[in-house]
Symmetry: C2
Subunit: 421 residues, 2 copies
């Protein structure tokens, strides 16, 4: 007998037929004698519909009349959009009862998932209601509305897009669950995107650190914060498909602490992200503190700087500074830099949004040499030019021309023999 948290995203509960199927999956676990809590998202499309209503009304601004009132509506946004998960949780509870399983819905404020005051992208502080664990311990399935919590002021908050993953992991931690099963529309974590590399292979296991790098690097399966939280609490996450029949073979991928088996593998996966743009500052004065000033400018503009490289030419006592930002932040970043051009002192800016970041990730890299060499050779053989390089203990990322994305991913997948189990 185990205690399990099961999480189902929007496509898994898209309509009543899918909700009935989810009820079958949950009922199978409950009837096998496990203690079960379920976290559900809104039926797919519902959140977008609610957001559209808010966006429409939000255009009714009173110009200049009262700036503070023209300000944030995030508290009401949260009250509105959280209703989607509320509906799904009630519907799944009914479907479970109709299958002979004792179940009840729990909303964010009922469990009570306390968050900070950052409406729309709140962070979880604690799950406080002891009745939840007692109810699950008594054999009741808890059907928890994901994505939502409650602030210290008693208002509904939401955790940002993909927040239901984080709800599920936080719930699993609070319930001291044995594991958290994230049901989704793919059957596990792959060595790379199978749409690009048909030979991509489902991984049986992956280490938290690897998953974290892959999640940050553009693999969309799990929200980054949910992986961080699971890693901090050593809580295993299983990623598996919600489209299999109840009782069918559906191993998925276990995200867990690294073990000996994993270390035999040098590289676990190849990730890519098209959401990148490159900025180069030309002939930045080569004085101490110049890079820090650029970074502060970006930070003040609320732009996150990712990869960064400086190419110094001693002869001229000036340097080019190249870095990447999110594609949607490119214009904001450029305007912010132009505004401080004279103060900081540089000649000009060039930018390129036709770039992709391709990364290899693997905890085995810590103890193996020659990984970078294999990577750069594989890229060079295909004539792929590397613009910027960034590394961490368990990953190497390169920025390349976007045209070469698929070629680079295939080259690296093959070079590290990821198609072989």
């Amino acid at each position: 007998m185990a205690r399990i948290v099961m999480k189902f995203g929007g496509t898994s509960v898209a309509n009543l037929e899918r909700i009935r199927h989810v009820a079958d999956l949950v009922a199978a676990e409950a009837k096998a004698g496990h203690e079960v809590a379920v976290v559900v998202s809104a039926m797919s499309g519902e959140t977008n519909k609610l957001v559209a209503l808010v966006d429409d009304l939000d255009r009714d601004r009173v110009d200049g009349r009262n700036d503070t009132l023209g300000g944030s509506i995030d508290d009401e946004y949260d009250t509105i959009v959280s209703s989607g998960e509320q509906v799904t949780s009630g519907l799944l509870a009914i479907a479970l009862r109709r299958r002979g399983v004792r179940a009840r819905s729990w909303l964010g404020w009922q469990i009570a998932l306390k968050t900070d005051m950052a409406h729309g992208k709140a962070r979880i502080d604690a799950i406080e209601n002891p009745e939840l664990s007692a109810s699950v311990g008594d054999g009741n399935v808890a059907v928890v509305a994901g994505f939502q919590g409650i602030t210290e002021k008693g208002r509904i908050s939401t955790l940002g897009r993909g927040g239901s993953d984080t709800s599920a992991v936080a719930l699993a931690v609070a319930l001291k669950a044995d594991r958290c099963d994230i049901y989704t529309d793919v059957d596990g974590i792959y060595t790379t995107d199978p749409r690009i590399v048909p030979e991509a292979r489902r991984l049986n296991r992956i280490a938290f650190e690897e998953m974290l790098e892959l999640a940050s690097l553009g693999a969309k399966v799990l929200q980054v914060r949910s992986v961080e939280m699971a890693m901090n609490h050593k809580l295993p996450i299983r990623v598996l498909t919600s489209f299999a029949e109840a009782g069918a073979d559906n191993p998925g991928t276990l995200v867990c602490e690294e073990d000996a088996m994993m270390e035999e593998r040098v590289v676990s996966g190849v990730a890519y992200s098209r959401d990148e743009a490159q900025i180069t500052i030309l002939r930045l004065e080569d004085k101490p503190g110049m890079v820090a000033k650029v970074c502060k400018t970006m930070s003040d503009a609320n732009v996150i700087v990712d990869m960064i490289v400086q190419s110094i030419s001693k002869a001229e006592s000036a340097a080019n500074l190249t870095f990447t930002v999110g594609k949607r932040d490119l214009e904001k970043a450029q305007s912010a830099l132009e505004a401080v051009k004279d103060e900081i002192g540089f000649e000009g800016i060039t930018s390129d949004s036709n770039v992709t970041k391709v990364s290899i990730v693997g905890i085995g890299m810590r103890s193996h040499t020659g990984v970078a060499q294999t990577m750069f050779e594989a890229l060079a053989e295909r004539g792929i030019n590397v613009e910027v390089i960034a590394t961490s203990e368990i990953k190497i990322s390169v920025l390349i021309n976007a045209e070469y994305t698929e070629l680079a991913v295939r080259a690296l997948h093959s070079a590290f023999e990821l198609e072989v189990a």
Copy 2:
């Protein structure tokens, strides 16, 4: 400066255009310096959509497997359908802020509207959160989700169809408001249904007792419980249209304690209800306690008995007993009676669902004689036969053949000169 509760039903907030209009009406009151709380229903159609989802899932019963689990889902029903009002309250709060008015949404559990455990038709115990009144007193418009509350177990409850009227009156009482304005799709309470009598006149004032009789008798404008509660707390209710422009002349009808002006009027209105069915028990034994036994049979079957009349024929020591029940309870009532036929002792049952109850209501009837005579003469002149009569201090109801409904309503409206102000 007054403290006002404004209530808007589903058709008044049916879409964003209507919500914007409601925001204009509320903003006008707030900017006139009043302290305002608003109660909103779900956007029309939303509640039905949610109920349809629940009904669909509710058909997945596990036959005989577990009767207790096959039982009530009313707690989850409440969690699901209450989301409709939650969305409207958030949207109206946003629309108000965008008009320069400080506003926030409050859900049933936030204000906190405590109810009993009767999910789906809960009764209000109290409104407990002192922050609500403080916030309104500070000049913030409170936008309250109607129809919903919270049980002592911390679950969401709902108040039954039309429950937002009761939410509004309860809120007005809790906030010690000066009055409660119920905005609806008609511009007030009429002397009778204008679809039947084009000369029907909007009343400027009506007494609580009269409104209560009219509401019970089939006038659909206000929920009966809301009028009872307002009467008990001497809280004036104004019924007016939400379709007028902000600032336009929109007096509506004030429902309030009776005053001298009203007493000049003998009859205030003519109501009718087609939701009636008549049952006659033939040759019931004429012994003490027989009528009580029939009433107990109905009560045990959860059927409400309304008008009741006994026609005794001493010669035979048997009597016919005629009474009315709601049309939808007719079959249930007949089965229950057949089951105790021998025990109670009667010859047979006849029934007729082709009947209408027509009533005249007026507090002036207390001090005026001849009202009944005027009524029966008006009906007799048109050849309308009266089947059953029921009276109270301020009303006379007759049961007639449904074919004569419009004719009877017009005859009575004219006989009491209700078309004259």
